[in-house]
């Protein structure tokens, strides 16, 4: 059992939790994820690691309540225990000195980007961070990310904070100013990663995206998380979750992420009605 040591409500639907998981914390690296299950009847869901504390043996996850499991998780309190918490899974981010790195986070995707930004900065990169969300309330970790960024750009869809517009617009303006960019990291909604990859492809700027498809075991056993990368089938759980954004078939990913939308809606409805 894995105890929830800390909980923060970041917005109405986004929560942060620090979970006691010493073995996972000992090995976790930026870019990796965990799989958790709240209770005996629960589903196994993957969440990207938002931070790790080796000394205190904790893993931080930040999640948006979108399905039944995340809604239930969001209701859990400090002191409650998760039944299962396995990791770290997937390949860590390839941190090295690239030169100038642009790190783009959208919505809840900002969370897993934070440790990557931190490590990239420690590796001696010039880090430009672009954080975007639908509105001000859905932004997060600005202060923490600001600490490790040489430049920090904020944008919101509705203009409630920072520039009004999308992260891709901000990226485009940075490119237009003639800034030489060596690599881009983009984590967020699939559509955001697709648009960013479309922008950078024109300029041949290598772009890493982190995918979060539907998974079951998370260890390479089921292939439910398979994605098409450069016309090859890859498993996001063991080959990823990070891939070259210019090679990912985002349309197939979006399609595969909708596989159980109906079932999820049904379960959420039952949960709201108190029938589950």
């Amino acid at each position: 059992m894995y105890e929830i040591l800390e909980k923060k409500v970041l917005s109405a639907t986004v929560k942060l939790m620090k979970i006691k998981a010493p073995l996972v914390a000992k090995k976790a690296l930026a870019g990796q994820f965990i799989i958790l299950r709240t209770d005996e009847k629960g589903e196994r869901i993957p969440l990207t690691i938002a931070d790790y504390d080796r000394k205190n043996g904790t893993i931080t996850v930040i999640f948006m309540e979108v399905g039944k499991t995340t809604k239930q998780l969001g209701k859990m309190k400090v002191g409650d225990k998760l039944l299962n918490f396995a990791g770290p899974l997937g390949q860590p981010s390839e941190i090295e000195k690239y030169g100038t790195v642009v790190c783009i986070g959208g919505g809840v995707g900002i969370a897993p980007l934070y440790p990557i930004i931190r490590e990239l900065k420690k590796a001696g990169n010039y880090v430009i961070s672009i954080l975007g969300a639908r509105n001000e309330k859905l932004l997060m970790l600005e202060k923490e990310i600001g600490e490790f960024s040489d430049e920090l750009h904020i944008c919101t869809d509705d203009g409630s904070k920072g520039t009004k517009g999308f992260v891709s617009n901000v990226l485009q303006s940075i490119i237009d100013k003639g800034k030489k960019i060596d690599i881009v990291w983009a984590i967020g909604p699939v559509i955001m990663m697709k648009v960013v990859a479309d922008v950078t492809k024109k300029y041949n700027i290598k772009t890493i995206v982190s995918l979060n498809p539907i998974m079951v075991d998370g260890t390479g056993m089921c292939g439910g998380c398979r994605v098409s990368v450069g016309n090859e089938t890859k498993f996001a759980c063991v080959d990823g979750p990070e891939f070259d954004g210019h090679l990912v078939d985002f349309n197939n990913l979006m399609l595969r992420n909708r596989r159980f939308t109906e079932e999820e809606k049904h379960a959420c409805k039952l949960l709201e009605e108190g029938k589950l």
Binding site: N84, F85, G87, P88, T219, M221
Partner: protein, 464 residues
Amino acid sequence: MAVKKEKHPMPEQKPKERIKNFKEVPYGYDEKTAIEEAKRCLQCKDRPCTKGCPVEIDIPDFIKEIAEGNFDKAVGVLKTKTSLPAVCGRVCPYENQCEGECTLLKIGEPVAIGRLERFLADYERKEGVKTPKIPKSTGKNVAVVGAGPAGLTCAGDLAKMGHKVTVYEALHAPGGVLMYGIPEFRLPKEIVKAEVNYIEKLGVEINYDVIVGKTLTVEELLEEFDAVFIGTGAGLPRWLNIPGENLDGVYSANEFLTRVNMMKAYRFPEYDTPIKIGDVVATFGAGNVAMDCARTSLRLGAKKSIIIYRRTEKEMPARIEEVHHAKEEGVEFKLLTNPIEFIGDEKGILKAVKCIKMELGEPDESGRRRPIPIKGSEFTINIDTALVAIGQSPNPLIPKTVKGLKIGRKGNIETDEEGRTNIPGIFAGGDIATGAATVILAMGAGKKAARAINKYLIKSSNFE
């Protein structure tokens, strides 16, 4: 009195009823039938059946005890060699193992050894499993990676030798393929749990959520333990590698079965993990896993469940019993047929599979006649779900992460006959060493490795 030529039949759920539920198909022998069946055994002096048993069960001895009504004694005989009799008595391919060697085959059907093993295991569970005697500790520690048939057998045997065993399992439940792969109607999960519970009573500790190769490494285990056994199985699904395989509606057998068996998707929404299959399900492949997929589909409500296989019935790798059960339940077989493309609608949802008819040519390296496509014979079948059950490869996680470990051509860990790898102190067995095989062969490998580990531990302590 002449020996009855046939086995006593196994009472089972009627096909029309059982496709509506996930309850076990055969009910098992009652005491009277078990005794009668046991009396068919000739108690041959040369004991040919025992040669066919990978876990070396003293078959004639336990059968003799059953024939005399000494069920407790019979259980004792069984349990000295196997810790998983209720599992073996259900999923072991006895026809190729013990029963394949039975003298009675000369005049008719062999003794129903498998059914008798199951009878005893079920009898014991009903009576209450006795806590086994735990031998004096040797002071040696062994780590077992993977709580599947190989790992559990190895762990149980090592514990019986007095070693302290710690099992590390990546998933949240024990049993490996027994839990995620084999369906409830063939192997109830409560039975797997009961057998695992017995192994825990032997003093074996099982840690879940530990992915060795990620959470811990084999090197770290070697620092803490005197030896490590790797039994991580063949978990990597194989694909057909045809267009459209990533459409919504195409599953690997592993994903489909894991959702249904381990995550209990057949009880969604009570359980959180969903599954949906539509009206027509096509399963590709003709092994036991394929039969499990096709039969599970019927129980989930498919109106039509089709097995699509490129060779003929003769070449099907599934057990005859499984094929028979599938046919009884109404699974259709489209043989000499090979898929060439999955076709989706404008939203990317699977709608059909394009196939081509095959004919058999010359034998290939497996000795089976090679299927050859017949030009111009393409045709399309409308389907809602495709299940790809054409086999699994060894799980690559440990082979990839242990420096210097000798890996075979198929990505398997290379071992000698007794499970020794090229690195002293590291042993391996089951599907990770052989490629996908059967539960009983994995158990046999776990047993042999336990003996080799024991020898290794004694030898290393003599040096100290």
